[in-house]
Subunit: 82 residues, 2 copies
Amino acid sequence: MAEYIGYLAAILGTIGWLPQVYKTWRSRETKSLSLPTNLLIFITVSLWFIYGLLTMSWPIIMANVFAIILVGSIVIAKLIYK
Amino acid sequence: MAEYIGYLAAILGTIGWLPQVYKTWRSRETKSLSLPTNLLIFITVSLWFIYGLLTMSWPIIMANVFAIILVGSIVIAKLIYK
């Protein structure tokens, strides 16, 4: 039971970033986005990726590869469209 | 080693939301924030909280109580300051 909730949380926590990525790149509007928060979340998902590698957990590795790409693209948009 | 990286990620992934909360409530500006993303992240941290309860993991419970409050307050701000 707990395991399935964990998987669901991992999947939602990754695809959850898609609407923000879409909105940000489409509108080129980043005024109300916090750069420190997006940078810290980017570092967070990078750490989870390393954690996944160290524990050889493929679900954690896969979820965080996607999260790195998604959150990374928001950080890049924030830096480009100030 | 992996354990410490996991703890660091859990802490960063929680306090990382603070700058966004501060910026959003101070500026009352939410135009570039995605409501679906913030709702999905809110559901995600709520699921991690339930996961923490089911596995009786205090670090996961504590981290996600804070995350629920922080992300929840961003969702509320987005709904109020459209």
